[in-house]
Amino acid sequence: MNTEILGVIATYGLTLLLAWPLARYIVKVFRGDKVWSDFMSPLERLFYKFSGINPKEEMDWKQHMKALLTINLVWFVYAFFALLFQDKLPLNPDGNPGQSPDLAFNSAISFLVNCNLQHYSGETGVTYFTQLFVLAFLQFVSAATGIAALIVVFKAFKEKTVTKLGNFWEIFLKTITRILLPLCLLIAVILIFNGTPASYAGKTSVVTLQGDTVNVSRGPAAGFIAIKHLGTNGGGWFGANSAHPFENPNYIGYITEMVAQVVIPIAMVFALGMFIQRRKFAYVIFGIMTIGMICLLIPTMQAEMSGNPALAHMGVQQLTGSMEGKEVRFGPAGTAYWSTVTTIISTGSICGFHDSMMPMSGLMELLGMMLNCLYGGCGVGILNYYIYVIIAVFISGLMVGRTPEFMGHKLEAREVKIAALITLLSPFLILAGTAIACYVFVHHPNADWAVKPSSWLNNPGYHGFSEMLYEMTSSNANNGSGFEGLGDGNMFWNISTGFVLILGRYLPIIGPVAIAGIMGAKKHIPESAGTLRTDSLTFGAMTFAVIVILTALSYFPALALGPIAEYFSLYK
């Protein structure tokens, strides 16, 4: 078998091997067992003491959400002003300017919500100070926010009837000190020894072998790249993200970053089974998520490895597949695998540009983000899947004609309403957002508030529509990848995606936590012969069907106008 495909299989296999022990470790940390990282506890105590936090104070789900939203608001204010005035702050060896208010708004939000859209380019749009003290900081804390919300849900599942669900600050801080920080150090050191820069040295000038003078951007990138993947953030230090040879120097770097971005999402699924002691429930979820991933991966790899038919028509040789927007060291198969993983989980880092990939790959990437629950982002992936589970339980209940139950609690109108609203939110934001963008593009091509709308699109026709659809989908999914040909650095895109980002982040966190919190507080009903078993394969298939049907109904028309139409025009 060819070495590119073997590389992909080995990378996925290694991820599973590492996810298992990581899941056990995560469970121990949040159960409060003794673990090797207990040497961190003096530091944590210092943090609690200085901040005036009592980590033993138990919170209900509403208090959790209040704490979560308050600290997120603090981060937003901090990030917005730091980006606005970054030119006046230290650590700016390349002399980069401050961001405009609309760009700072977008950048601050997109890092705050774990998305990392990046309407700027890393080499010129930010300084070392904002990269490290603002963006990398947000990459840590936004990932920890998602995980903390998920742990609250775990706690609600675990107990028969419960209102007190642990302390938000403690869960949040431990996620950073016990999970993210130690793993990031390890990942960053691997990258450093493979050639990723980590010093504070600025841009340098070299005379090339042929005698040209070029400038080379550098900087303390290794630590940033580690948390960008481990926290499923995806924002690159350099403009070309993980396609940049400093950011992702070789195939070892590829494997490292690839494993890093998907290991926590997979581990969280295993951890769910261990934590609530319903392992079969978690295995079924893992199985469904994996089947979903393979359904997206195989068409992508097939399309990329067969090459671009338009180039084949011109008569050149495509030995390994399509190479536009790809790097030799990763190859088409490796880039295809990366594109699938980065869109199903909410990383959005890239090792080859999605805009130049085949229409079939573009379709799969869009679907990955629309589903947003196959493994999914740090913590939030399972929260998204949980919404589909609630819908599936509800529909199953209707089919057999009894009151639906989940985890020993009755599922009633209020919870189903929340789930339905969250499910409808995504298509509303994506489709309405894309429609507005199309309207502005057609009717206001020269408006001042959208700097250069007439040159939004880098490609004509169906693919141009896909560029706008992709940007809105990526924002709603908090993914952060893009069809980067889109000219998104203007007021329209900065502000519109900014609001999509906020709604697409916080409502899908609050919704599932609220459902779990409300249900957890209800009277526990012991399982009987009449209880719908949620850990069976049948129920797994039911959930899968719900996901497929809802997605198809919501998005098929939009997808037909974009990648599907492009597919038929390319392979005619």
Binding site: F193, A198, V207, L209, P245, L311, M314
Partner: protein
């Protein structure tokens, strides 16, 4: 909300110091032990730095092996790809021009032998590598320009080829800058 505001601010200050300050400083310290000391690994020729191992360079002269086309013209103060769609007519025109240019400089090569990577732009615009096939297709041109036997050049490419990890995972690559430095140092 108010109850949580002060703890939020204080905790944020501490975490900014830990994650934004101490964490990267620690890594910069560790990097002093790594090749390139964390500044990026450089390539030397005749006692001078001629570039970074990871950062690709533009080669236009016939006597050098050419790198892949770049959307940023190998200006490493930025990076990026073309972001052109598969059947964008403007893009296909550019590819056709690259094919024609390549054929003019490499008269011994047939169009059907040109590997696509030599006429398509990389993702970073700084791709330092070629596949062995894309290097070998340029041998006849370089041999003629330098008056070196083709066998010797093929050997040089083989010597500069990095196999996939453990011979099994990933792609074989040739670092173009290192290959060209080795070429200049030949004799």
């Amino acid at each position: 909300m108010k109850k949580y505001l002060l703890p939020s601010i204080k905790l944020t200050v501490l975490l900014v110091v830990l994650l934004g300050g101490i964490y990267p400083l620690l890594l910069a310290g560790i990097a002093k032990l790594a090749p390139g000391k964390g500044d990026g690994v450089t390539v030397m020729h005749n006692g001078k730095v001629v570039g970074f191992e990871q950062i690709g360079q533009k080669f236009t002269e016939d006597k050098y092996f050419w790198s892949r086309p770049s959307a940023v013209d190998y200006n490493a103060a930025g990076s990026g790809g073309s972001n052109k769609a598969a059947n964008n007519p403007d893009y296909l025109k550019v590819v056709q021009e690259r094919i024609d240019t390549f054929l003019v400089h490499n008269p011994d090569v047939k169009k059907s032998e040109i590997p696509a990577e030599l006429v398509t732009a990389s993702a970073s615009g700084l791709d330092p590598h070629l596949s062995p096939a894309a290097a070998n297709i340029q041998v006849a041109r370089v041999a003629k320009a330098r008056g070196i036997a083709t066998d010797k050049l093929k050997q040089l490419i083989a010597d500069n080829t990095k196999a996939p990890v453990w011979g099994m995972f990933g792609t074989p690559t040739v670092n173009v800058l290192k290959l060209n430095v080795a070429l200049d140092e030949l004799k």
